[in-house]
Symmetry: C2
Subunit: 361 residues, 2 copies
C-alpha cells in the first residue's frame, strides 16, 4: 500500500521535530508547526495509522509519537530533503582539506576529525582493507650494525624500520640483500609472499645470521598491516552530550566498542556502493550499536583504494545535515586523492559512479 501524501508530510514533520527537540511529538504541535490544512484531531487519526503501520512508536499510551527505526529508514530513503551546506561550512571544509593535502598519511584522520567537528558526533575514518604488495625494497646501510629497511607499497605508502644488529655486517652484504629482495619479492601480496619468504629465510639461515629473517618478518608484518586497513575514531566524548546517551553505562558501551579499531573494520564490509550510507539502529550488525545510527561516506583514495569517513550518533540523528556534510567532505577527498593523483604508469582503477557531480547541488 502506498502511503498518502499527507501521511508522508506528517511523518516528515514528526521526524524533523523529534530530531530537533528530542521530545515525543504530539498532534497539536504538528498542526501548529507544520502548516497542515487540518486540525489536530485529523492528525491524530493519521498518527494512529502511521503507528500501526510501524513508522511511529509511542513511549507510553499517553505521550506523543517518536519515529521507529523503520520510520527513520523511510524518512532517510524518501522524505528527507537533501540539505545544502552553508557557504561558510563549505569553505571551512575546502580550507581544511587543502591545508592538509600535503600530508597524505594524515589526511585520513584529519578528515575524520573534521567530520566530527562539523557534525558534533564521534567520527570515524577508515581505509578499506585490501591486499597490497610491495613495489620496492631498499636497505640503507647506516653503520656496521645498523641499517634501515624501507618498503614502498603498491599504494604508494612507505614503511620503514630501523634495525640494530647484535653483529656486524658490511655495506656490500646489505646491498646484495636489497637487490635480492627487489628481484624476488616484489609484486606479491602477504598471502603469496609468506611461504616464499619462509623458505628463502630457511635457505639463507646459515649465510647471513638471520638478516634475511629480520627483513622477511618486517615485510610480512607490513603487508599484513596494510592489508588490514586502518581505523580511527575521534571525538568519542561528544556522544555524552546527546540526551539519549546520558546514561553513562550506555555511552560507555558504545564508546568502548568504537575505541577498539578491530571492531570498526567490520563496518566497511557493508559499504560497497558509493555515496552516503545510513545504518539505522537495529540494522547494525554489532549488538553494541543497535541503538545508534551510523552515517558513512566513502571516497576514492587513489591507487584503487577507497576510504571511509563516518559519524556515530543516536537514532535521532540529523541525517540530512550529516549526510550532506559527509558527502561534501568525501567528494573533496576523492578529488584530492582520486584518480588524478596517479602518476602515469600505475594502473588506474577508477571505481565509477564516484563523486556525484550532480543534479541537486
Amino acid at each position: 500500500m502506498e502511503i498518502s501524501a499527507r501521511k508522508k508530510k506528517i511523518l516528515a514533520a514528526v521526524v524533523d521535530e523529534y530530531i530537533r527537540t528530542a521530545e515525543p511529538v504530539g498532534s497539536k504541535t504538528i498542526a501548529e508547526k507544520a502548516n497542515m490544512g487540518c486540525s489536530s484531531a485529523t492528525i491524530r487519526n493519521e498518527l494512529s495509522e502511521l503507528t500501526s503501520l510501524g513508522y511511529l512508536e509511542q513511549p507510553h499510551t499517553s505521550a506523543g509519537r517518536v519515529p521507529s527505526p523503520q520510520g527513520y529508514r523511510f524518512y532517510v530513503n524518501e522524505l528527507m530533503e537533501r540539505q545544502k551546506l552553508s557557504i561558510e561550512e563549505a569553505e571551512t571544509i575546502n580550507a581544511r582539506l587543502s591545508e592538509k593535502m600535503e600530508q597524505l598519511d594524515r589526511l585520513m584522520t584529519d578528515a575524520g576529525r573534521l567530520a566530527g567537528q562539523l557534525t558534533g558526533y564521534p567520527a570515524l575514518a577508515l581505509s578499506t582493507p585490501r591486499a597490497v604488495a610491495a613495489k620496492r625494497f631498499d636497505l640503507l646501510y647506516v653503520d656496521s650494525n645498523t641499517f634501515i629497511i624501507v618498503i614502498l607499497l603498491e599504494n604508494n605508502t612507505v614503511r620503514n624500520k630501523l634495525v640494530h644488529l647484535p653483529f656486524s655486517v658490511e655495506q656490500g652484504q646489505i646491498q646484495k640483500l636489497s637487490a635480492l629482495f627487489n628481484a624476488g619479492f616484489t609484486g606479491l601480496t602477504e598471502e603469496e609472499i609468506t611461504p616464499v619468504l619462509i623458505s628463502a629465510t630457511e635457505r639463507a639461515a646459515r649465510d647471513n645470521m638471520g638478516l634475511t629473517s629480520i627483513i622477511a618478518a618486517f615485510t610480512i608484518e607490513t603487508l599484513t598491516q596494510s592489508r588490514a586497513g586502518e581505523a580511527f575514531v575521534t571525538g568519542e566524548s561528544s556522544l555524552l552530550q546527546q540526551p539519549e546517551f546520558r546514561d553513562p553505562d550506555k555511552a560507555h558501551r558504545v564508546i568502548s566498542y568504537l575505541s577498539d579499531s578491530h571492531h570498526l573494520m567490520g563496518l566497511p564490509a557493508v559499504t560497497e556502493e558509493n555515496g552516503v550510507r545510513v545504518i539505522i539502529g537495529p540494522e547494525n550488525l554489532a549488538e553494541e550499536l543497535r541503538d545508534s545510527s551510523v552515517v558513512m561516506a566513502s571516497y576514492d583514495a587513489g591507487e584503487g583504494q577507497r576510504g571511509l569517513i563516518g559519524v556515530v550518533g543516536p537514532l535521532r540523528m540529523d541525517y540530512s545535515a550529516v549526510a550532506a556534510k559527509l558527502r561534501y567532505i568525501a567528494d573533496g577527498l576523492s578529488r584530492l586523492l582520486g584518480s588524478g593523483e596517479a602518476p602515469a604508469g600505475f594502473g588506474k582503477m577508477i571505481l565509477k559512479g564516484d563523486v556525484s557531480t550532480d543534479e541537486h547541488e
Copy 2:
C-alpha cells in the same frame, strides 16, 4: 604540629576505605575494620580533629568523612604503603613489553595502553619535547618522477615521504642531492637548520626546479614535529565507570580536555624528576582537571629523551596500586630503551625488585 600516630592510622584507614567503597566512612566502620584499640567514640573525636585540621571533609553534617585533597596529599606523601605487584601483573607487563620491543615507535603508545588496561583508568603516554637533529638523509629514486625521502633522526626514529614530481629527474641528480644533504645538513636542529636550508633552497632554485625546496620543507617539518613531542590518550571512556564521573557533563569536560593532545603537552613541564609523580585535584594547573588526579611516571627513552606514562582518574584513586604499576612499567621501559641502548637488544630482560619480597628502597 606533628600528627599523632593514631591520627595517622585513622586517616590512612579512612582513605583506604573510601578508595575501596566510594562511600563516606563513619567512625564505626573504622573501629571495626581497622583494628584500632579503641571505640568508635574515640575515633569520632579524632575524626573531628582531623576534619578541623583540613585532612577530611564532611559531605553534610551527618555523614561519614571523606578525604580532602590535602588529606590525599598527606596520604600519598606519608601514609601510603608501597604496594607490590602480584606476580601475574608483573608477568603481564614483562610479556607485553618484550613482545613490543621490536617496534620502538609503537612502544610508547602501547605502554600507555597497557597502563590503562592494568589500572582501569584512562591513560596517557607522551614524549617530552626536545630538539633533535637529522643524522642522515637518503633519497631513493623510484622512477623518473618519483622518489622517496628518508630521514634518520638522532633519536633513531625514521621518517619518510614519497614525492611525486610534475617533471622528470635522473637518478644521478637524486644521488647528488642526497650526498649534498648528508654533507651539509646533518647534526642540526630545526632552529639551526631552517635558515641554512632556506638559503640553500634559494641558491639551488634555478638548478633543480624546486627539488631542494621539497626536501628542505620535509626536513623542517620532520624536525619540528619530532621536537614537539607526541601525546596519546587511550581508554578515555573507562572514566565513565567511575562513580564520580556518572555525570556525563563532568565526564565530557575531562575527556574532551584529554582528547586534545595540545593540552597534554602542558603536563610534563611539571615533571622533571624521576620516579612517580602524583597530582591531586586542585593541584592541577588545568581548570578542567581540578577534580581529577593524575599519576605519572617518567622513563628514560634513550638518546637523552624522556617519556611519560600516566593515568587520570578521580581523586579517590587507588594511588598506591596505580603508582606501583606505573613505576614498574616505566622501569621496564627505561631498561628497554634507556641509555644502555644495547643494540644486542634481543637479550633477555629480567626486571627485578618491586614484585615479590618485602623490601623498601
